[in-house]
Amino acid sequence: MTDRAALMPRRRELQPDPYVPDYKTSVTRSPALPLLSMESTPSEETGPRFGHSLLGPLDNDLIRNFSEGKALAIGERIRVHGRVLDETGRPVPQTLVEIWQANAGGRYRHIKDTYFAPLDPNFGGCGRTITDDDGRYEFMTIRPGAYPWPNRANDWRPMHIHFSVFGHAFGQRLITQMYFQGDPLIDLCPIAATIRDRSQLYRLVAPLDMQQSRGMDYLAYRFDIVLRGRRQTMFENKPEGM
Protein backbone atom coordinates (compact mmCIF):
# COMPACT_ATOMS: atom_id res chain seq x y z
CA MET A 1 0.00 0.00 0.00
CA THR A 2 1.55 3.29 -1.06
CA ASP A 3 0.99 6.72 0.41
CA ARG A 4 -2.54 7.81 -0.54
CA ALA A 5 -2.48 11.42 0.58
CA ALA A 6 -3.90 13.98 -1.83
CA LEU A 7 -1.49 15.62 -4.24
CA MET A 8 -0.79 19.31 -3.88
CA PRO A 9 -2.56 21.19 -6.66
CA ARG A 10 -0.42 22.06 -9.66
CA ARG A 11 0.78 25.67 -9.69
CA ARG A 12 -0.44 26.21 -13.24
CA GLU A 13 0.69 29.85 -13.25
CA LEU A 14 4.26 28.61 -12.90
CA GLN A 15 3.85 26.02 -15.65
CA PRO A 16 4.00 26.85 -19.36
CA ASP A 17 0.97 28.42 -20.99
CA PRO A 18 -0.82 25.91 -23.23
CA TYR A 19 -1.56 28.52 -25.91
CA VAL A 20 1.49 30.43 -27.13
CA PRO A 21 1.16 31.93 -30.65
CA ASP A 22 4.94 32.05 -31.19
CA TYR A 23 4.99 28.27 -30.79
CA LYS A 24 2.70 27.71 -33.74
CA THR A 25 1.73 24.09 -33.16
CA SER A 26 0.34 25.00 -29.73
CA VAL A 27 -2.30 27.24 -31.34
CA THR A 28 -4.54 24.36 -32.45
CA ARG A 29 -3.46 21.86 -29.79
CA SER A 30 -4.29 23.84 -26.65
CA PRO A 31 -7.65 23.49 -24.91
CA ALA A 32 -9.64 26.72 -25.07
CA LEU A 33 -11.96 25.87 -22.16
CA PRO A 34 -10.90 25.84 -18.50
CA LEU A 35 -9.64 22.60 -16.98
CA LEU A 36 -11.90 20.86 -14.47
CA SER A 37 -10.10 21.28 -11.13
CA MET A 38 -10.74 19.09 -8.12
CA GLU A 39 -8.86 17.25 -5.39
CA SER A 40 -6.86 14.27 -6.60
CA THR A 41 -8.46 10.83 -6.36
CA PRO A 42 -6.93 7.34 -6.09
CA SER A 43 -6.47 7.30 -9.87
CA GLU A 44 -3.97 10.18 -9.63
CA GLU A 45 -2.53 9.22 -6.23
CA THR A 46 -1.39 5.79 -7.39
CA GLY A 47 0.79 5.02 -10.36
CA PRO A 48 2.92 2.43 -12.10
CA ARG A 49 6.15 1.33 -10.40
CA PHE A 50 9.14 -0.09 -12.17
CA GLY A 51 11.90 -2.19 -10.64
CA HIS A 52 15.61 -2.43 -11.35
CA SER A 53 15.01 -5.70 -13.18
CA LEU A 54 13.74 -3.52 -16.02
CA LEU A 55 17.18 -2.08 -16.63
CA GLY A 56 20.02 -3.35 -18.77
CA PRO A 57 23.62 -2.51 -17.81
CA LEU A 58 24.04 0.13 -20.54
CA ASP A 59 20.58 1.71 -20.30
CA ASN A 60 21.92 4.94 -18.75
CA ASP A 61 24.95 5.16 -21.04
CA LEU A 62 23.89 6.76 -24.33
CA ILE A 63 27.49 6.84 -25.53
CA ARG A 64 27.52 3.05 -25.71
CA ASN A 65 23.98 1.66 -25.49
CA PHE A 66 23.09 1.87 -29.18
CA SER A 67 26.16 -0.06 -30.33
CA GLU A 68 25.77 -2.43 -27.35
CA GLY A 69 29.17 -1.27 -26.14
CA LYS A 70 31.02 -2.00 -29.37
CA ALA A 71 31.74 1.60 -30.38
CA LEU A 72 31.42 5.10 -28.93
CA ALA A 73 29.06 7.84 -30.05
CA ILE A 74 30.60 11.01 -31.48
CA GLY A 75 30.42 14.21 -29.46
CA GLU A 76 31.47 16.02 -26.31
CA ARG A 77 31.32 13.47 -23.52
CA ILE A 78 29.11 14.60 -20.65
CA ARG A 79 27.69 13.18 -17.46
CA VAL A 80 24.24 14.42 -16.47
CA HIS A 81 23.30 13.83 -12.87
CA GLY A 82 20.95 15.10 -10.21
CA ARG A 83 18.17 14.26 -7.81
CA VAL A 84 14.44 13.81 -8.08
CA LEU A 85 12.65 15.46 -5.15
CA ASP A 86 9.04 16.28 -4.36
CA GLU A 87 7.62 19.63 -3.30
CA THR A 88 8.08 18.75 0.37
CA GLY A 89 11.81 18.43 -0.30
CA ARG A 90 11.91 14.68 0.13
CA PRO A 91 13.81 12.52 -2.36
CA VAL A 92 11.76 10.40 -4.74
CA PRO A 93 13.53 7.03 -4.66
CA GLN A 94 13.09 4.13 -7.09
CA THR A 95 11.46 6.10 -9.83
CA LEU A 96 12.03 5.72 -13.55
CA VAL A 97 13.81 8.55 -15.40
CA GLU A 98 13.95 8.37 -19.21
CA ILE A 99 15.79 10.74 -21.53
CA TRP A 100 16.04 11.28 -25.28
CA GLN A 101 18.02 13.71 -27.37
CA ALA A 102 19.53 14.65 -30.73
CA ASN A 103 23.06 13.58 -31.64
CA ALA A 104 26.05 15.91 -31.60
CA GLY A 105 25.03 17.34 -34.96
CA GLY A 106 21.48 18.12 -33.83
CA ARG A 107 19.80 15.20 -35.61
CA TYR A 108 17.35 12.72 -34.07
CA ARG A 109 17.18 9.10 -35.06
CA HIS A 110 13.51 9.42 -36.01
CA ILE A 111 11.64 8.95 -39.27
CA LYS A 112 10.17 12.47 -39.02
CA ASP A 113 13.55 14.20 -38.58
CA THR A 114 14.76 15.25 -42.03
CA TYR A 115 17.47 17.73 -40.98
CA PHE A 116 20.55 17.08 -43.14
CA ALA A 117 23.01 16.80 -40.25
CA PRO A 118 24.15 13.16 -40.46
CA LEU A 119 23.08 10.33 -38.20
CA ASP A 120 25.80 8.86 -36.01
CA PRO A 121 25.85 5.09 -36.57
CA ASN A 122 26.73 4.63 -32.90
CA PHE A 123 24.14 6.91 -31.34
CA GLY A 124 20.50 6.00 -30.76
CA GLY A 125 19.50 8.83 -28.45
CA CYS A 126 17.53 7.26 -25.62
CA GLY A 127 18.42 6.15 -22.12
CA ARG A 128 16.78 5.34 -18.80
CA THR A 129 17.58 4.72 -15.17
CA ILE A 130 15.90 4.37 -11.78
CA THR A 131 16.70 6.75 -8.90
CA ASP A 132 18.49 5.37 -5.85
CA ASP A 133 17.27 5.63 -2.24
CA ASP A 134 18.29 9.31 -2.13
CA GLY A 135 16.52 10.11 -5.40
CA ARG A 136 19.80 10.31 -7.34
CA TYR A 137 20.25 9.44 -11.01
CA GLU A 138 23.00 9.79 -13.60
CA PHE A 139 23.54 9.37 -17.32
CA MET A 140 26.58 9.33 -19.58
CA THR A 141 25.88 10.87 -22.95
CA ILE A 142 27.16 13.35 -25.52
CA ARG A 143 26.14 16.98 -25.63
CA PRO A 144 23.32 17.25 -28.17
CA GLY A 145 23.63 19.80 -30.97
CA ALA A 146 21.29 22.73 -31.43
CA TYR A 147 18.97 22.26 -34.39
CA PRO A 148 16.67 24.28 -36.66
CA TRP A 149 12.96 23.48 -36.64
CA PRO A 150 9.98 24.48 -38.72
CA ASN A 151 8.20 27.22 -36.79
CA ARG A 152 9.09 30.77 -37.73
CA ALA A 153 11.54 30.95 -40.63
CA ASN A 154 14.74 30.87 -38.57
CA ASP A 155 13.96 29.17 -35.25
CA TRP A 156 16.56 27.01 -33.54
CA ARG A 157 16.21 24.80 -30.52
CA PRO A 158 18.86 25.36 -27.86
CA MET A 159 20.85 22.28 -26.93
CA HIS A 160 18.54 20.18 -24.77
CA ILE A 161 17.82 16.76 -23.36
CA HIS A 162 14.21 15.61 -23.01
CA PHE A 163 13.37 14.14 -19.59
CA SER A 164 10.42 11.95 -18.59
CA VAL A 165 9.85 11.23 -14.88
CA PHE A 166 7.16 9.10 -13.23
CA GLY A 167 7.27 9.68 -9.48
CA HIS A 168 5.04 7.35 -7.50
CA ALA A 169 1.68 8.68 -8.63
CA PHE A 170 0.12 9.10 -12.07
CA GLY A 171 -0.66 12.71 -11.14
CA GLN A 172 3.06 13.43 -10.71
CA ARG A 173 3.88 12.47 -14.28
CA LEU A 174 6.21 15.03 -15.87
CA ILE A 175 7.96 15.54 -19.19
CA THR A 176 10.37 18.43 -19.48
CA GLN A 177 13.63 19.50 -21.12
CA MET A 178 17.06 20.23 -19.68
CA TYR A 179 19.03 23.11 -21.19
CA PHE A 180 22.74 23.90 -20.84
CA GLN A 181 24.30 26.80 -18.99
CA GLY A 182 25.50 29.56 -21.30
CA ASP A 183 23.52 28.62 -24.40
CA PRO A 184 22.45 31.90 -26.06
CA LEU A 185 19.63 30.15 -27.94
CA ILE A 186 17.62 29.59 -24.74
CA ASP A 187 16.47 33.20 -24.66
CA LEU A 188 15.46 33.06 -28.34
CA CYS A 189 13.46 29.84 -28.16
CA PRO A 190 9.64 30.04 -28.38
CA ILE A 191 9.29 26.65 -26.69
CA ALA A 192 11.40 27.75 -23.71
CA ALA A 193 9.37 30.98 -23.69
CA THR A 194 6.12 29.07 -23.12
CA ILE A 195 7.19 29.34 -19.46
CA ARG A 196 6.32 32.97 -18.77
CA ASP A 197 8.15 33.23 -15.46
CA ARG A 198 11.86 33.47 -16.37
CA SER A 199 13.03 32.26 -12.96
CA GLN A 200 10.98 29.12 -13.55
CA LEU A 201 12.53 28.67 -16.99
CA TYR A 202 16.02 29.01 -15.61
CA ARG A 203 15.33 26.07 -13.31
CA LEU A 204 15.59 24.01 -16.51
CA VAL A 205 19.10 25.27 -17.24
CA ALA A 206 21.68 22.82 -15.89
CA PRO A 207 24.88 24.37 -14.54
CA LEU A 208 28.28 23.04 -15.44
CA ASP A 209 29.44 21.03 -12.42
CA MET A 210 33.23 20.96 -12.44
CA GLN A 211 33.39 19.14 -9.09
CA GLN A 212 31.63 16.17 -10.62
CA SER A 213 33.51 16.37 -13.92
CA ARG A 214 36.44 14.07 -14.63
CA GLY A 215 39.66 15.33 -16.20
CA MET A 216 40.54 13.85 -19.61
CA ASP A 217 37.12 12.20 -19.70
CA TYR A 218 33.83 14.13 -19.28
CA LEU A 219 32.19 17.37 -18.15
CA ALA A 220 29.32 17.07 -15.68
CA TYR A 221 26.00 18.94 -15.65
CA ARG A 222 23.67 18.92 -12.69
CA PHE A 223 19.91 18.78 -13.16
CA ASP A 224 17.52 18.42 -10.22
CA ILE A 225 13.84 17.74 -10.80
CA VAL A 226 10.93 18.48 -8.45
CA LEU A 227 7.68 16.54 -8.72
CA ARG A 228 4.34 17.40 -7.12
CA GLY A 229 4.19 16.69 -3.40
CA ARG A 230 1.43 15.33 -1.19
CA ARG A 231 -0.47 17.14 1.51
CA GLN A 232 0.81 16.00 4.87
CA THR A 233 -1.71 15.76 7.68
CA MET A 234 -2.74 13.28 10.29
CA PHE A 235 -6.40 14.29 10.00
CA GLU A 236 -7.11 12.37 6.80
CA ASN A 237 -6.18 9.38 4.81
CA LYS A 238 -7.27 6.81 7.35
CA PRO A 239 -8.86 3.74 5.88
CA GLU A 240 -12.62 3.77 6.19
CA GLY A 241 -13.95 2.70 9.58
CA MET A 242 -10.80 3.50 11.54
Binding site: R10, L14, Q15, P16, P18, Y23, K24, S26, T28, R29, S30, P31, A32, L33, L35, L36, S37, M38, E39, T41, P42, S43, E44, T46, G47, P48, N65, F66, E68, L85, E87, G89, I99, W100, R109, H110, I111, K112, G124, C126, H162, S164, F170, G171, L174, I175, T176, I191, A192, T194, I195, Q200, L201, L204, V226, L227, R228, E236, N237, E240
Partner: protein
Protein backbone atom coordinates in the same frame (compact mmCIF):
# COMPACT_ATOMS: atom_id res chain seq x y z
CA UNK B 1 7.72 39.27 8.82
CA UNK B 2 6.72 35.67 9.26
CA UNK B 3 8.45 32.33 9.24
CA UNK B 4 9.36 31.41 5.67
CA UNK B 5 7.35 28.57 4.14
CA UNK B 6 9.94 26.13 2.96
CA UNK B 7 8.38 24.39 0.02
CA UNK B 8 9.75 23.53 -3.39
CA UNK B 9 7.77 24.09 -6.55
CA UNK B 10 7.23 21.51 -9.25
CA UNK B 11 9.68 21.67 -12.15
CA UNK B 12 8.06 23.30 -15.17
CA UNK B 13 6.93 21.05 -18.00
CA UNK B 14 8.08 21.39 -21.60
CA UNK B 15 6.53 19.83 -24.66
CA UNK B 16 7.40 16.20 -25.35
CA UNK B 17 8.04 17.30 -28.94
CA UNK B 18 7.68 15.30 -32.15
CA UNK B 19 10.32 12.72 -31.19
CA UNK B 20 8.85 11.57 -27.87
CA UNK B 21 8.72 8.05 -29.31
CA UNK B 22 12.52 7.78 -29.27
CA UNK B 23 12.60 8.18 -25.51
CA UNK B 24 9.41 6.46 -24.42
CA UNK B 25 8.64 3.80 -27.05
CA UNK B 26 11.92 3.41 -28.96
CA UNK B 27 11.03 0.11 -30.65
CA UNK B 28 7.91 1.76 -32.05
CA UNK B 29 10.21 4.53 -33.34
CA UNK B 30 12.43 1.95 -35.03
CA UNK B 31 15.24 1.98 -32.46
CA UNK B 32 15.24 -1.75 -31.97
CA UNK B 33 17.60 -3.38 -29.57
CA UNK B 34 18.24 -0.60 -27.08
CA UNK B 35 15.67 -2.10 -24.70
CA UNK B 36 14.21 -5.62 -24.99
CA UNK B 37 10.72 -4.16 -25.48
CA UNK B 38 8.86 -0.89 -25.12
CA UNK B 39 7.67 -0.01 -21.64
CA UNK B 40 3.91 -0.37 -21.11
CA UNK B 41 3.29 -2.39 -24.26
CA UNK B 42 0.19 -3.82 -22.60
CA UNK B 43 -1.60 -3.05 -19.33
CA UNK B 44 -2.54 -6.71 -18.88
CA UNK B 45 -0.97 -10.10 -19.35
CA UNK B 46 -2.46 -13.48 -20.20
CA UNK B 47 -5.05 -14.51 -17.63
CA UNK B 48 -6.11 -11.07 -16.43
CA UNK B 49 -9.53 -11.26 -14.78
CA UNK B 50 -12.45 -9.41 -16.24
CA UNK B 51 -13.82 -8.36 -19.57
CA UNK B 52 -11.23 -7.74 -22.27
CA UNK B 53 -12.08 -4.55 -24.10
CA UNK B 54 -10.59 -2.50 -26.85
CA UNK B 55 -10.92 1.26 -27.21
CA UNK B 56 -10.12 3.01 -30.48
CA UNK B 57 -10.06 6.71 -31.09
CA UNK B 58 -8.27 9.73 -32.44
CA UNK B 59 -6.97 12.97 -30.98
CA UNK B 60 -8.28 15.89 -33.01
CA UNK B 61 -6.83 19.39 -33.00
CA UNK B 62 -8.82 22.62 -33.20
CA UNK B 63 -9.23 22.22 -36.97
CA UNK B 64 -10.50 18.65 -36.67
CA UNK B 65 -7.24 17.14 -37.92
CA UNK B 66 -6.07 13.99 -36.14
CA UNK B 67 -2.67 14.18 -34.43
CA UNK B 68 -0.25 11.71 -35.98
CA UNK B 69 2.52 12.23 -33.44
CA UNK B 70 0.91 12.01 -30.00
CA UNK B 71 1.78 9.60 -27.22
CA UNK B 72 -0.77 8.53 -24.64
CA UNK B 73 -0.34 6.83 -21.30
CA UNK B 74 -3.17 5.10 -19.52
CA UNK B 75 -3.50 4.05 -15.89
CA UNK B 76 -6.37 2.09 -14.37
CA UNK B 77 -7.58 -0.24 -11.67
CA UNK B 78 -8.19 -3.95 -12.20
CA UNK B 79 -11.61 -5.52 -12.78
CA UNK B 80 -12.32 -5.36 -9.05
CA UNK B 81 -11.43 -1.67 -8.85
CA UNK B 82 -8.15 -2.33 -7.02
CA UNK B 83 -5.13 -0.33 -7.98
CA UNK B 84 -2.21 -2.41 -9.30
CA UNK B 85 0.35 -2.89 -6.56
CA UNK B 86 -2.27 -2.78 -3.78
CA UNK B 87 -3.18 -5.76 -1.62
CA UNK B 88 -5.46 -8.12 -3.48
CA UNK B 89 -4.84 -6.60 -6.90
CA UNK B 90 -4.88 -8.87 -9.93
CA UNK B 91 -1.21 -9.73 -10.58
CA UNK B 92 -1.95 -9.96 -14.31
CA UNK B 93 -2.91 -6.30 -14.48
CA UNK B 94 -0.09 -3.74 -14.49
CA UNK B 95 -2.68 -1.08 -15.28
CA UNK B 96 -0.20 1.00 -17.26
CA UNK B 97 -0.06 1.31 -21.03
CA UNK B 98 1.78 3.51 -23.49
CA UNK B 99 0.51 3.89 -27.02
CA UNK B 100 0.85 6.29 -29.90
CA UNK B 101 -1.51 7.64 -32.51
CA UNK B 102 -0.84 6.02 -35.87
CA UNK B 103 1.43 8.05 -38.13
CA UNK B 104 -0.90 7.49 -41.10
CA UNK B 105 -4.47 7.25 -39.78
CA UNK B 106 -4.07 9.06 -36.47
CA UNK B 107 -6.01 6.34 -34.64
CA UNK B 108 -4.92 4.78 -31.37
CA UNK B 109 -6.11 1.51 -29.85
CA UNK B 110 -5.96 0.45 -26.21
CA UNK B 111 -6.63 -3.20 -25.37
CA UNK B 112 -7.16 -3.84 -21.68
CA UNK B 113 -9.57 -5.17 -19.06
CA UNK B 114 -12.51 -3.08 -18.10
CA UNK B 115 -11.77 -1.62 -14.68
CA UNK B 116 -14.16 -1.86 -11.74
CA UNK B 117 -15.50 1.07 -9.72
CA UNK B 118 -12.84 2.73 -7.57
CA UNK B 119 -13.33 3.73 -3.94
CA UNK B 120 -12.00 7.13 -2.90
CA UNK B 121 -11.88 9.10 0.35
CA UNK B 122 -14.98 9.65 2.46
CA UNK B 123 -16.98 6.89 0.81
CA UNK B 124 -16.71 8.32 -2.69
CA UNK B 125 -17.11 5.76 -5.44
CA UNK B 126 -15.94 6.52 -8.97
CA UNK B 127 -17.59 4.77 -11.91
CA UNK B 128 -15.25 2.53 -13.94
CA UNK B 129 -12.75 4.71 -15.76
CA UNK B 130 -9.30 4.77 -17.32
CA UNK B 131 -7.06 7.78 -16.74
CA UNK B 132 -5.21 9.20 -19.74
CA UNK B 133 -2.20 11.48 -20.04
CA UNK B 134 -1.57 12.92 -23.49
CA UNK B 135 1.68 14.46 -24.69
CA UNK B 136 2.73 15.66 -28.14
CA UNK B 137 4.42 18.41 -30.07
CA UNK B 138 2.45 21.59 -29.38
CA UNK B 139 1.19 20.37 -26.00
CA UNK B 140 3.23 22.29 -23.44
CA UNK B 141 2.02 20.41 -20.38
CA UNK B 142 0.56 16.89 -20.55
CA UNK B 143 -3.23 16.76 -20.76
CA UNK B 144 -5.15 14.63 -18.27
CA UNK B 145 -8.54 13.19 -19.03
CA UNK B 146 -10.57 10.03 -18.36
CA UNK B 147 -12.43 7.40 -20.32
CA UNK B 148 -15.77 6.34 -18.83
CA UNK B 149 -18.10 3.83 -20.51
CA UNK B 150 -21.59 4.20 -21.99
CA UNK B 151 -22.65 0.78 -20.69
CA UNK B 152 -21.88 1.58 -17.04
CA UNK B 153 -23.85 3.57 -14.49
CA UNK B 154 -22.06 6.91 -14.40
CA UNK B 155 -24.86 8.78 -12.64
CA UNK B 156 -23.18 9.02 -9.22
CA UNK B 157 -19.61 9.60 -10.32
CA UNK B 158 -18.19 12.50 -8.27
CA UNK B 159 -15.97 13.80 -11.08
CA UNK B 160 -18.61 13.74 -13.79
CA UNK B 161 -20.97 15.43 -11.33
CA UNK B 162 -18.63 18.43 -11.22
CA UNK B 163 -19.08 19.20 -14.91
CA UNK B 164 -21.46 22.15 -15.06
CA UNK B 165 -22.41 22.01 -18.75
CA UNK B 166 -24.06 18.57 -18.79
CA UNK B 167 -23.61 17.93 -22.52
CA UNK B 168 -19.85 18.07 -21.95
CA UNK B 169 -20.04 14.93 -19.77
CA UNK B 170 -20.47 13.08 -23.01
CA UNK B 171 -16.90 13.96 -24.05
CA UNK B 172 -15.58 11.59 -21.36
CA UNK B 173 -17.74 8.61 -22.28
CA UNK B 174 -16.59 5.89 -24.67
CA UNK B 175 -19.31 4.65 -27.02
CA UNK B 176 -19.95 0.97 -27.60
CA UNK B 177 -19.26 -0.05 -31.19
CA UNK B 178 -19.51 -3.82 -30.78
CA UNK B 179 -19.01 -6.56 -28.21
CA UNK B 180 -16.20 -5.31 -25.97
CA UNK B 181 -15.22 -2.53 -28.32
CA UNK B 182 -15.58 1.21 -27.88
CA UNK B 183 -14.83 4.46 -29.65
CA UNK B 184 -13.34 7.40 -27.75
CA UNK B 185 -12.29 10.51 -29.66
CA UNK B 186 -10.46 13.33 -27.93
CA UNK B 187 -10.99 16.90 -29.13
CA UNK B 188 -8.24 19.22 -27.97
CA UNK B 189 -10.05 22.43 -28.83
CA UNK B 190 -13.22 23.88 -30.29
CA UNK B 191 -16.62 22.27 -30.84
CA UNK B 192 -17.08 19.27 -28.57
CA UNK B 193 -13.84 20.03 -26.71
CA UNK B 194 -12.98 17.20 -24.33
CA UNK B 195 -13.07 17.95 -20.63
CA UNK B 196 -9.45 18.04 -19.44
CA UNK B 197 -8.64 17.63 -15.79
CA UNK B 198 -6.58 19.38 -13.16
CA UNK B 199 -6.50 17.05 -10.20
Amino acid sequence: MVQPLEALVETPSQTAGPYVHIGCIPSFAGLDGVYPEDLGKSPISEGAKGEIISITGAILDGTGWALRDAMIESWQADAAGISPGDDGADPKVTGFCRFATDKDSGDFTLRTVKPGPVRGRNGQVFAPHISLWIVARGINIGLNTRIYFDDEDNSADPLLARIEQRPRVDTLIAKTTGAGSYRFDIRLQGKGETVFLDL
